[in-house]
Amino acid sequence: MTTTTTAATVPPAATLVSTAAAEWWKLRSLRSTRWFLGGATLVMLLMAVLESNNGDPTTIQAVSVAVAAVNYFVQHILAAFAMLAITSEFATRSITVTLVCTPSRTRVMLAKTAVVGSVVLIAGMLVTGLGVVAGATRFDELGDLGAAQVVTVFKIGSYLALLAVLALGIGTLVRRTAGGLAVLLVLILILPEILSLVAERFGLDGLGTAINFTPTLAGSRFIGGEWEFGLVLLGWTAAGVLGGIWALSTRDA
């Protein structure tokens, strides 16, 4: 009772950084991480080599092929990867171990956000950059590449990271992989299509504009150069993270 703990024996308290270190270790210790990132790279390279782009000769074809690869495949692969970072914990019940180690649910969500977001940002830029270079080699455009394409690659990476964290948030809310993927696909694929059909059929211009605020279309406009749509995307991601924090904090694990 009178024994005081000296500074030397008091171990350092855990922080957001230590939680993030654990989350990073969890990702890197799974083979599936390599499969997801390798798969995204493979699909990108296949597109760069195979996709014929009869687009407008004033744009760089390698970039439009890379954007197409992201839209059709890469974004879904990386979003699924991000979602599994949490849904796999619920599926294996190892979430209980995570929460016993780190009782602050907000910290768990923020650490996952930071790690998944960073991994997808870096992987997304590398994969896209690789695709652009591979495509440019094929289309004989290497000499045309410059700072503008570097910025585009950065924007694509940011888009992929923001979408991935949104997927992580959805996964935290839904908990199950299949259900989470269904919600994600509705949000990024089906919703814009349906809204566009309805807007066209009934001539609703307002609705037609609203479509641009769905995550994927906001992302396209952001990548296309309209920076303000980056904020729209950021809003979706923030909503996903806050929803995830809310769900983790209020529900029993």
Binding site: A13, S18, A22, W25, T96, P103
Partner: protein, 306 residues
């Protein structure tokens, strides 16, 4: 005494006060109140579904109680500054990602707590998992998973160890190992809280038993009390005279009487006085299993009918 939520040198007490958890209309844990003291192994017993695991989840803050509190050294679990160093827990040995190697599972736990990675090797050696740690957790037997889980619980060298059914799936060597481990950890002044649905497991490990059924405490006693003699059993060729003198005596065999409430000395003296020959005379010591069955019978019966 403020504990500061760190090392508590005087030992960390767990205190449950009216702890209650309801899921809809079902009450899983119903007003539990007890205190766990350092230096002792408290066994937590009850049939499957009695609320043992839920109680442990409430202590760890995994589930929020409907009412009441569970405090560890005066604090709720989420308020602990160093949770893994205060309380180590094993709830579900299979709650490990099957594709992750055992060592990586522990390393992630250690990293999140800023526990040196060298400690991972120590607990692996302690649990006999050093070799198996390079395999993916999905390949483990239940016994190996239990060992990995116990390694995880020991990672922070905690003041309190809380294990849910730790001997499940262990081979006899493993069972012996865990008994010795728990006794020695309690001997170091730690608080040990271990659940089981098998009374026999507790007989050789626990100092105290908390028996629950349908979410309520049925019994909370030192283990000696539950094993205390309840009467005398006597065998002999002509016990009729003895039976006539003792109202409480019951025939429990053709030549055997059981006399509740009397010691062998008392019964022996009476038999001597009556000049009776005896074959056998001794106390009735219920096995822990029998005490347990009689304690939980009511709650199990009720459970089956509900």
């Amino acid at each position: 005494m403020r504990t500061g939520g760190r090392y508590v040198d005087s030992g960390t007490v767990i205190r449950l006060t009216n702890l209650t958890k309801r899921y809809g209309h079902r009450t899983a844990v119903d007003g539990l109140t007890f205190e766990l003291q350092p230096g002792a192994v408290a066994g937590f017993l009850g049939p499957n579904g009695a609320g043992k695991s839920t109680t442990m989840r409430l202590i760890l803050g995994l589930d929020a109680p409907t009412a009441g509190t569970a405090l560890i050294g005066g604090r709720r679990y989420p308020e602990l500054k160093q949770p893994a160093r205060t309380i180590g827990a094993l709830l579900d040995a299979k709650a490990v990602h099957p594709a992750r190697r055992g060592r990586d599972h522990l390393r992630a736990m250690a990293l999140s707590q800023r526990i040196p990675l060298s400690r991972v090797e120590e607990v692996l050696a302690l649990t006999g998992m050093s070799e198996a740690a390079r395999l993916r957790a999905g390949t483990y037997s239940l016994g190996m998973s239990q060992r990995l889980g116990i390694a995880g619980a020991l990672l922070g060298d905690p003041q309190v160890l809380m294990l849910d059914e730790p001997v499940n799936g262990l081979d006899p060597d493993g069972v012996q190992w865990i008994r010795t481990l728990l006794r020695s950890l309690a001997g170091e002044g730690r608080t040990i809280f271990v659940s089981s649905h098998l009374m026999s497991e507790m007989e050789q490990t626990a100092d105290r038993l908390i028996v629950i059924g349908r979410g309520r405490v049925i019994a909370d006693e030192p283990i000696e009390n539950l094993l205390a003699s309840t009467g005398t059993r006597v065998r002999g060729p002509q016990l009729r005279a003895l039976a006539d003198r003792l109202d409480a005596a019951q025939w429990t065999g053709p030549d055997e009487l059981t006399v509740p409430g009397l010691t062998p000395e008392q019964v022996g003296a009476l038999a001597h006085q009556l000049g009776l020959m005896l074959y056998q005379l001794g106390p009735v010591e219920p096995s822990l299993e029998e005490s347990y069955m009689s304690l939980t019978a009511a709650s199990v019966e009720y459970g089956a009918g509900a």
